[in-house]
Symmetry: C2
Subunit: 332 residues, 2 copies
DNA sequence: GCTGGTTGTGAATACGTATGTATGCCATGA
DNA sequence: TCATGGCATACATACGTATTCACAACCAGC
C-alpha cells in the first residue's frame, strides 16, 4: 500500500538515506543522483510519510488552535487568517474546541502531537497555560491572555478602545450610559470595561451597576441584556457592548422591543467584524486588525517554537480605531 | 525532555511492552502489574507519544476537513458538530482550507498524516476525489458531492427543498420569480435550482434567464445580484436564494435600495442558519438539520476508515422543511 | 515426575524517516 | 608513487510504540 523511501531507493539504485537527502535538496548529494531519485519518486508517486519524519525529527509541523464555540461569528475571522499564515510558515492546523473538559484537552495537547498551541480562549483562571509550561510546550495567547507578565501574546489595545468609546459617548452628550461587557475572567472583557470606566470617570460620568451586564461574548448575552438595561432608572441613552456579536444581539433585541437605534439608544460594538458593516446593522464600533492579530500570533508562535524569542515574554498589542456608522447619535 | 514508555518501564521494574499493554488495558497483563505500571506512569506524568503510536499502528486517529472560506457563516455550523462528533469517536480534526492550490492540498492529504478526509467543498469538476481514491485514502462528501454513483456522502434533499419553495411561491400567487442560485459546478447549486424549476414548470410558471443569477454561496453574490434582478422586465416579485448567506446579502441590498421585504419582494433562503432567525432578518427559508448532516458525515467516514461500509457507496440524504418567517408574502 | 495447557512477561522487531559517522573514490600536489 | 583532502554515498542507528513470538512459571491430571 504505502510507498516508502526504501522503494524509491531500490528503483533509483541508491540507498534510502540518499533518497531522503536528495528529495530535501541536501547539497551533499550530486545533481545527477538527485535527478535520478526525483524521477524514481515521481514514478512511484512517493510521498514521504510524515509519521516517520515526525518520529525522526521530533517535530510535527503541526500547531493546535484552541477555541470555544466555533459558531460564534468572531472565531472564524481569527481562524481563517491564522490557518493561512501557519500554512505559509509550513505548519498545519489542528482545531480543538475546549469545552469544560480541560483534562481531555491536556491529554490531547501533551502527547507531542503538535509543536505548539494557540490559545484563543484563555481565561484569567485557566490552568492550561501552566500545564503547557511544565511540559515545555510552546504556546501563545491570541486576543485574550492571562494578564500576567511573561506571556507570549498577540492582543488588542482593549483599554484604549474602551476609552475611545467613552470619549465619543461623552462628546455626544450621553450621561446615562450602560455596558454589556465580556466575562470578568477574560482580559478582553476586563480591559475594555476598565478603559471605558476610566475615561467616563475622567469626564465625570458614572457607570452604575444596574446599567452593567457581564456575560459571554455571545449573541444571546446582548439579546437578553437589553430589557434589564432599559429597566434602569433613568434608562441609559447609550450602551457599549463587549464586542460586535453582543452588540448585534442588542440591536436585534432593540428591534424586537421597538427601541429605535440610534434615536432612542446608541449602540457601540468592538472588533468591526465584516458583519458590522451590513446594511441591517451599520454598527458603530471599534476597529482593530483581526487578520493581523492572528497572523502576528502565528508568527510569534513559530518563533517561539524555533526558540528565537525573548524568554521574558512578548506581548504584541494592536491599536484600535473608532468607526462611526449609524448606531450612534447625540443624547436626547 | 520527553518521558517514554521505557522510562516508565524502568521505574515500574517491567519491560516496555508491558507498559504499553498495561496502559491500554490489555487483558493479558495481571492486575498487580497493571497497577504498578499505572502508578509509575502517573508519577512520571507519562503521555504516550502519538508519533510513535502512529508509526507502529499505521493509524493517526486524525481526520482532515477541507473547506474553502471559513469566514462564510455557513461553515462554522458544519465544522462545530463535525469536530464534536469526530472527537467523540476518538478522532482529531485537521482543518485545511483549499484555495485554488489543489496540488498543495494533495501533498498534504497523501502523506499518511490522516486516516480520512471530509470534503465539504466538492465541485463536480474536482480532481481531488480521484486522487484520494487512487491512494486508498478514505473520504466522504459533506453537503456537496460530485453527483456520481458510488460516492460516500452526507447530503440534503436539495431538489426536494427547491420544490418546496417553488410550490409555496406559486401558492402565494407569484408568477414572476427569480433565482440567485449557487455555482453551477456544485450539486447544492444545481439540485436546488433543478427542484425549483421543475416544480415551477409543473405549475406553469417560467423562470427566464434574465431573472437568474448564479454565483458562489456568499453574501456578496446576493448583495450584488439584486440590482440586476430588479432591472428585469417585468421585475420579479419573489426571489429564491441558493442559501441563507446569499439571501442575507439580498436582504441587505434590498434595504440599501429601498426595496421593501416582503411587500415589494419575497425572499427565501436555504439552510436555516441560526442567523436567519435574527430579528433583523426573520428570513423565510428551508430547514434541514445541519448538525445531523455533519455528525452523519463523521460517522460515515469513521465507518469507511474501519472498512465497515458498502463498497458501492452510501449516500445519506436528509429531508427538508419549509420555514415560514417574515420575508415572504402574497404577490402584489 | 512427566505431559500439556494456561497465564504473564520479556526479547526482538517492525514501522518510515533523518542523521552522525564511516567509507570509497577521485583529483591534486610533491 | 603515495599521501592528502574533498566529495558522494552507504552503513548503522535513533526516534517511541505496538506486536509477534518465545519462554518461563505455574497448575492440573495422570
Amino acid at each position: 500500500m504505502g510507498i516508502t523511501s526504501h522503494d524509491v531507493a531500490r528503483l533509483a539504485g541508491v540507498s534510502q538515506p540518499t533518497v531522503s537527502r536528495a528529495l530535501r535538496d541536501d547539497p551533499r548529494v550530486s545533481e545527477a543522483t538527485r535527478e535520478k531519485v526525483r524521477r524514481a519518486a515521481q514514478a512511484l508517486n512517493y510521498v514521504p510519510s510524515e509519521a516517520g519524519r515526525t518520529l525522526s525529527t521530533r517535530a510535527t509541523r503541526r500547531v493546535g488552535v484552541i477555541v470555544t464555540d466555533l459558531t460564534n461569528p468572531f472565531y472564524p475571522h481569527v481562524i481563517a487568517p491564522l490557518h493561512d499564515e501557519l500554512s505559509g510558515l509550513g505548519y498545519r492546523m489542528m482545531l480543538i474546541t475546549e469545552r469544560s473538559d480541560e483534562a481531555v484537552a491536556e491529554e490531547k495537547l501533551l502527547d507531542q502531537s503538535m509543536d505548539g498551541v494557540v490559545l484563543a480562549t484563555a481565561t484569567t483562571d485557566s490552568r492550561l497555560p501552566a500545564q503547557l509550561e511544565r511540559r515545555g510546550m510552546p504556546y501563545v495567547f491570541l486576543n485574550r491572555d492571562t494578564g500576567r507578565a511573561g506571556d507570549f501574546a498577540s492582543v488588542v489595545d482593549n483599554e484604549g478602545g474602551g476609552r475611545l468609546v467613552a470619549r465619543e459617548l461623552v462628546a455626544l452628550g450621553h450621561r446615562h450610559v450602560a455596558g454589556v461587557f465580556g466575562a470578568a475572567n477574560t482580559t478582553t472583557g476586563r480591559e475594555r470595561e476598565l478603559g471605558f470606566r476610566l475615561a467616563l470617570a475622567e469626564a465625570g460620568v458614572g457607570l452604575v451597576e444596574d446599567r452593567v451586564v457581564r456575560g459571554a461574548f455571545e449573541y444571546d448575552t446582548g439579546y437578553r441584556a437589553l430589557p434589564a438595561l432599559l429597566a434602569a432608572d433613568p434608562a441609559p441613552t447609550a450602551v457599549f457592548c463587549g464586542n460586535d456579536v453582543v452588540a448585534i444581539g442588542v440591536l436585534n433585541a432593540a428591534l424586537a422591543a421597538g427601541v429605535k437605534v440610534p434615536d432612542d439608544l446608541t449602540v457601540v460594538g468592538f472588533d468591526d467584524l465584516p458583519m458590522a458593516a451590513w446594511e441591517v446593522f451599520r454598527l458603530t464600533t471599534v476597529r482593530h486588525d483581526l487578520g493581523e492579530l492572528s497572523r502576528q500570533a502565528a508568527r510569534l508562535l513559530v518563533r517561539r517554537i524555533a526558540g528565537e524569542v525573548d524568554p521574558g515574554g512578548e506581548r504584541l498589542v494592536l491599536p484600535t480605531e473608532f468607526v462611526p456608522r449609524a448606531t450612534h447619535a447625540r443624547a436626547h
